[in-house]
């Protein structure tokens, strides 16, 4: 069962998914998702493990292309353009749609090079020092690392590494940032800093975040999509979108019984 948020029309649409299904080999991971992602808003994907929320997220920048057995059906448009069209270059799409991963994954390079790498690869012609500083400032990391830009990115703490990865993502000036459980490996204080950061980034970027943490979804997001999984005949699990609406509606008066049970912590 799928629902589209009624209040969505107030915003411009970044992504539009229609009847999106993803399978790995013969296993259907998530089926028939209809979803609009509004621009300059934070959309949270919540749901129990195996419900396909990360899988859907990884369709928006075609990261699923990298998994040989993955098959994407249906249609996703980004600002009106079908991103799975043959003429669309996934490499170019990923420059416009950045991603932050579950575990911090800075490159084994210096802090400076971690930021400069993506910009250089994408042919940035401007002042690199200025770009590195601006990106680190935007990611609320500058003050902590400005004296050790030559140190390895791996020498930072987990929370700092994750903010470095955010800085790296925003350095190439994407339009959207996808976050796949960005705080699951972080302590509560680092988590809070990332959440504050998201509120600032929202001014410039569209953010889609997958989270296991319902408080995080309710604190940070404007819209929330609840996914659930059901058992299939083959004994596996298949994810589907249950309900999608403004975050306060999902958490206070959801239309579906299972959403109500999930957000009140009765399962998942």
């Amino acid at each position: 069962m799928t629902q589209t948020a009624g209040a969505m029309t107030a915003h411009k649409i970044a992504f539009q998914a229609e009847k999106l299904s993803v399978s790995y080999g013969s296993t259907m991971a998530v089926k028939d998702v209809f979803l609009d992602i509004p621009q300059n808003q934070i959309v949270a994907f919540i749901g129990p493990s195996g419900c396909g929320k990360s899988t859907v997220l990884r369709c928006f920048n075609r990261m699923n292309d990298l998994i040989p057995s993955a098959k994407v059906e249906g249609r996703i448009t980004f600002k009106g353009q079908d991103i799975y069209d043959k003429r669309v270059d996934a490499v170019e799409l990923r420059r416009r749609v950045g991603m932050v991963f579950q575990r911090p994954n800075p490159f084994p390079k210096s802090i400076y090079q971690n930021i400069a790498f993506g910009a250089r690869i994408n042919g940035y012609q401007g002042d690199m020092d200025e770009l590195v500083e601006r990106s680190l400032r935007d990611a609320a990391l500058w003050d902590e690392v400005k004296d050790k830009l030559k140190a390895s990115g791996l020498s930072l703490s987990g929370g700092q590494q994750q903010r470095l990865c955010i800085a790296r993502a925003i350095a190439i000036e994407p339009e959207v940032i996808l976050m796949d459980e960005p705080c699951s490996a972080l302590d509560p204080i680092s988590t809070l800093r990332v959440e504050e950061l998201m509120q600032e980034l929202k001014q410039k970027y569209t953010i889609v975040i997958v989270t296991h943490n319902m408080q995080q979804a309710s604190r940070t997001s404007d819209y929330t999509a609840f996914y659930n999984a059901k058992a299939t005949d083959q004994g596996g699990k298949m994810g589907y979108l249950v309900e999608y609406d403004r975050t306060e509606v999902i958490f206070q008066q959801p239309a579906q019984q299972s959403t109500q049970e999930y957000v009140s912590g009765r399962f998942g």
């Binding site: 990261m63 990923r94 994954n105 084994p108 690869i121």
Partner: protein, 311 residues
Amino acid sequence: MTVQSPTTQSQSLWRPNRDRSRLIQSVVKFICGAFAAVSIVTTLGIVATLLFETISFLQEVPIWQFLTDRKWTPLFASKEFGIFVLVSATVMISVISILVAMPLGLLAAICLSEYATPRTRKILKPVLEVLAGVPTVVYGYFALLTVTPFLQTFLPNLKGFNSISAGLVLGVMITPLVASLSEDAIYSVPQRLRDGAYALGTTKRETIVSVVLPAALSGIVSSLILAVSRAVGETMIVTLAAGANPTLGLNPLVPVMTMTAFIVQVTKGDAVHGSIAYQTLFAVGTTLFLITLALNIFSFWFVRRFREKYD
């Protein structure tokens, strides 16, 4: 539900034999320790033998003569002991071989790890390792009887025994070593680093060159050094294909004699125990040992210095 405390009745069913466990534990520990000690004792024995004989060699031949003579004629009436005659041959052939093995092995490793489908990888990797299992004497004959005549068709000055043919074939021999160990290093770079690069809009080539290879650098370098050590110590190919003619210099077209080839020559002959020829054997052996030891120490240092820790 409350947890019941164990009753006396159920306790009587459990009678572990702690003494027996402890005894077996200490016996196992002793046996493992003894076997581990065998390898240490053997190594120490070899080093001690090398050192004692080398010391008595150096009492006969001053070390400056060993290092500065320009000829190597320990078995002749007029003896000269210029070790660099042998070292130059060993170094030249090793360099040629690594110049072959580095590009071949690295490209094969990148191809297997990054481009091959899992199925291709599963087939190709064992095939590559079979190449490492070919007996070196076969490689030696291949170099002498196939590669040298082939090279002579466009290098008319090439002698029947030469470094270039031995070096090329030796390079092929150590390629699987480089490929296999580098492939392990490249394959073990965490997938999330590649994902991080792709998510910034990099192509596959950019990801491999800028992120994967630097991350695997320590493993790649140590595989190269191990391959060089292997080349330095290789005996059969160089004895068969490079000749037994001690020549100082770095001309790859003429016959030379490597350190290993010299050792073969003397041990095949009838060097009397305690004679100078006999002691020379150990002096050369010690030199060989020191070279590979230096390479291994460098590799060890490099890996510790540059290895990235991904928890």
